[in-house]
C-alpha cells in the first residue's frame, strides 16, 4: 500500500478541521473494509487517512418521537442485531445481515456504505424505501440534510463535498400499518455483490394500496427508487395483473450495465421483476386483515 499519513481525531471538530485543511488530499476511514482494498489496488490514493472509528459519539441507534436516527459510525453488525430497528422495520436489519461476511460487518459502517456509494450498496434499498435522509457536517459550513434519493450521483459518487462527512442517517418511523420485504440475490451466501437487492414497503387501506415504496440495486449507476411503479400501485387493489404490469414496467425502466459481470443485463432485468413481485406478495402477507 502507498505511503500515507494517519490521523485519529479525538472528536468531530478536530476531524472536520483536518478535512478542511487537507481538502481533496484526505479520505475518511471508518471500518476500512472498502477503503483498504481500494487503496491496495491503487484506485484511491489519499495522502492522509482520517480515522473516524474512534468517534463513538457517531455510533448510536436512537428514536426521538417519530424519527429513527442511526449514527454514521454504527457498524453493520450493530444495525443487523438492533432490536430497536427490527421493531420498526425488519428490512433494514435484514439487509445489514446480508452485507459482506460476519467479520466485515463488525467493522463496516452504515455511513461508510452510503458514502462509498457502490451501485450495489447493500444498505441503500431499505433506506430508500424508508425515505431516509443523510445528515452531513462540513468544517465552517452549515450542516445539510439530504434525502437519500438525492444523495447518489453515480458509481462511487455522491453529493458530498471533499471535506464533508455523513454524521447520521434518519428516517420517519413507519406507520404501524406499513409492511415491508427485502431480498438480496447473490451468487453465493456471503461476500456477494448482489445481482439484485430489492426492498419494498407498502401501506394498505382495506383492499387498496395507500402507499408503495420500491427501491433496488444494482440495476443502474446508483441505487434507485421506482417512482412509476410506486404510482401505479398506489390507490389500486394489488391484483396479480397489476403486479405483472408493474413487473414489466420495472423491467423497462431499470438500466443495468450492459457488460455481463456476475450476470447479464437481461438476467438482472428479469430477476428484478420476479423478485419485485415476490417482495410485494411477501409484504402483503404481513398486512393485518
Amino acid at each position: 500500500m502507498a505511503d500515507i499519513e494517519y490521523l485519529a481525531p479525538r472528536d468531530l471538530e478536530e476531524a472536520l478541521k483536518a478535512m478542511e485543511e487537507w481538502k481533496g488530499r484526505a479520505k475518511v476511514i471508518a471500518g476500512g473494509t472498502n477503503l483498504i482494498p481500494y487503496m491496495r489496488a491503487g484506485w484511491v490514493s489519499p495522502e492522509l487517512l482520517i480515522d473516524f472509528s474512534g468517534l463513538k459519539d457517531l455510533d448510536f441507534i436512537k428514536r426521538e418521537d417519530e424519527t429513527l436516527s442511526i449514527g454514521a459510525l454504527t457498524t453493520i453488525a450493530e444495525v443487523a442485531s438492533s432490536e430497536t430497528l427490527r421493531s420498526f422495520s425488519p428490512i433494514l436489519p435484514n439487509a445489514a445481515g446480508h452485507l459482506g461476511n460476519p467479520l466485515c460487518r463488525n467493522r463496516a459502517t452504515i455511513g461508510g456504505n452510503l458514502a462509498n456509494a457502490s451501485p450495489g450498496a447493500d444498505m441503500a434499498p431499505p433506506l430508500l424505501v424508508l425515505e431516509a435522509s443523510v445528515h452531513t457536517e462540513r468544517g465552517g459550513e452549515s450542516s445539510r440534510e439530504i434525502p437519500l434519493d438525492q444523495f447518489f450521483l453515480g458509481p462511487n459518487k455522491t453529493v458530498l463535498e471533499q471535506d464533508e462527512v455523513i454524521t447520521q442517517i434518519s428516517f420517519p418511523k413507519p406507520k404501524d400499518s406499513a409492511t415491508g420485504s427485502q431480498t438480496k440475490f447473490g451468487l453465493r451466501n456471503a461476500d456477494a455483490l448482489s445481482i439484485v437487492n430489492i426492498a419494498v414497503m407498502i401501506e394498505m387501506e382495506g383492499k387498496l394500496c395507500r402507499k408503495a415504496r420500491v427501491a433496488l440495486c444494482p440495476l443502474a449507476p446508483t441505487p434507485i427508487r421506482m417512482y412509476r411503479v410506486e404510482e401505479t400501485l398506489e390507490g389500486n387493489e394489488i391484483t396479480a395483473e397489476l403486479l405483472d404490469e408493474c413487473g414489466d414496467m420495472l423491467k423497462q425502466e431499470v438500466t443495468p450495465r450492459l457488460v455481463s459481470i456476475r450476470a447479464s443485463a437481461e438476467y438482472r432485468k428479469v430477476l428484478s421483476s420476479v423478485l419485485f413481485k415476490r417482495a410485494v406478495r411477501e409484504a402483503l402477507k404481513g398486512v393485518e386483515t
Binding site: I4, E5, A8, I36, R40, D51, S53, N101, L103, A190
Partner: protein, 162 residues
Amino acid sequence: MKNQTIDLTVNGEKHEILVEPNALLVNVLRDELGLTGTKYGCGTGQCAACTVLVNGESVLSCLTLAVAVDEADIVTIEGLDQPDGSLDPVQEAFLDHGAIQCGFCTPGMAMMGRDLLNKNPDPSESEIREHIKGNLCRCTGYTSIVRAIKSCSQGREPQAKL
C-alpha cells in the same frame, strides 16, 4: 511517512511496536511479532484466514491498519490455548474430527468457532454455518469443521467421529 509507536496487548502480552501508518495488522502480527498462526490469504477480506479478535470482536486483520488498533487487546490463534498449555476445546475438536487438511483456513475457522461459542455456548448447526460464512475452505467441504465446532456446544463432550 510518520512512523508511530503503538501499544498492543497480544495474547495477554504487552508489546510496544514502531509501525508505519500503512502497516496492516496481519503483517505486524506475523512479521513483527512472529505470530505466524494468523494467515494472509486473499488480502481483500474475502477468505477470513486472517481472523483475529480485537477487543473481543472478530475482525479481518488484513483490512485493519495496525495504527487503528493502538491500545487494543488482541487474541490470535496462538492465544487460544489454555493457561496450562493444553489446547482450547475447539482446537481439540478440530483434531478429533479431521477438520484440518492443509491447515490454512484452520486458524481463522478455529477463531470463529471460539468467537461463536463465547457468544452462544449452544449453537445449532445452522448458527455455526452462519458464523463461519466468511471463512473459506478449499479442502474439507466444511462438514468436518461444522461437526468439530458443534461437538463443543454446551453439554456435549468433544468426541471423535471417524
